[in-house]
Amino acid sequence: METLHIHHTKTTPSIFFDATKGEFRITGRSIPADATVFFASADKWAETFAATFSGDFMTIEIMLDHLNTGSVRSILTILTRFLRMKSRGIKIIVDWHYEVEDEDIRDKGEEMSLILEHPFKFTSFKYPE
């Protein structure tokens, strides 16, 4: 399956989905005017991947400093596709990164976790001074 690599812009995040390496990351700022359009290729990729993946587990890392409501919905849609693999016994780890003092972003992850009824792993980090 081809690697999906979308480079970040001032309003959109970097998306890197590599089935061969087992690396799945969404990082940066996600405030596109039309999130559905921006995330369409990632959504399609996730759908295909979820239908064909035969491994035991996958980890998706998400590290965003801004995300608008449209992005939340689109990322939830993508995560829903991955999480459907749970029915085949595949373990899904959603690793949600947030700056150590940024409770808003952590809370956003917790809300998304509750909506998906799937516990996230929370990883804090600190930007260099």
Binding site: I31, A33, D65, H66, N68, T69, E101, E111, L114
Partner: protein
């Protein structure tokens, strides 16, 4: 398009230091966020406060059009203002024309949001997000307004200014502290 002179008469005053009239697109959002992020006083804020402030502005920009259903004539163009206040605060106003017949529904939505406690807003946000997700809808269905209220941690200040031809100018004003 909203007549520029008319809008200026309605809302622009001596404190207005930035004004935009037109469609809100990716470039405008990017430029406007950069305008705020390049302010020296903004850079002094803790990073989480910066994030919250930018979130409120982005949602305001992106939702003003979503919450004002399209009208054919005159074609709606959104307006954005930035005002500077001596107290170290600045205001961002986003507005758009809408059908007067739809004002009641929007006003009730805003009043309900403004009368809700933070926990209620969170519950409303999550419930609405689940509905939006399950329906496959592409619209934000009021999620942006909820996000604005949560980001500014207080009521959303709004105005409905009746215009001719069954139209109303709807605007949201955010008062953002930089100290």
């Amino acid at each position: 398009m909203i007549p520029e002179l008319e809008i200026k008469d309605l809302l622009v005053d001596s404190q207005t230091d930035w004004f935009y009239l037109g469609e809100i697109d990716e470039d405008l959002i990017s430029s406007f966020v950069a305008l705020i992020e390049n302010r020296s006083d903004f850079l002094l804020l803790p990073r989480p406060s910066r994030r919250r402030l930018v979130s409120a502005v982005v949602e305001c920009l992106q939702n003003i059009q979503n919450n004002t259903p399209a009208i054919s004539k005159p074609q709606a163009g959104s307006v954005v203002f930035m005002k500077q206040f001596a107290s170290g605060e600045f205001g961002v106003t986003c507005g758009n024309l809408m059908q007067t017949s739809q004002v009641d529904v929007l006003q009730k939505k805003l009043d309900r949001i403004n009368s809700s406690e933070p926990e209620e807003l969170r519950d409303m946000y999550m419930k609405q997000m689940e509905i939006s997700l399950n329906s496959g809808s592409r619209t934000n269905a009021g999620l942006g307004l909820l996000e604005i209220a949560r980001a500014i941690n207080g009521p959303i200040k709004y105005k409905f200014l009746p215009q001719e031809g069954g139209l109303t100018f709807f605007s949201i004003e955010l008062l953002l502290a930089l100290n």
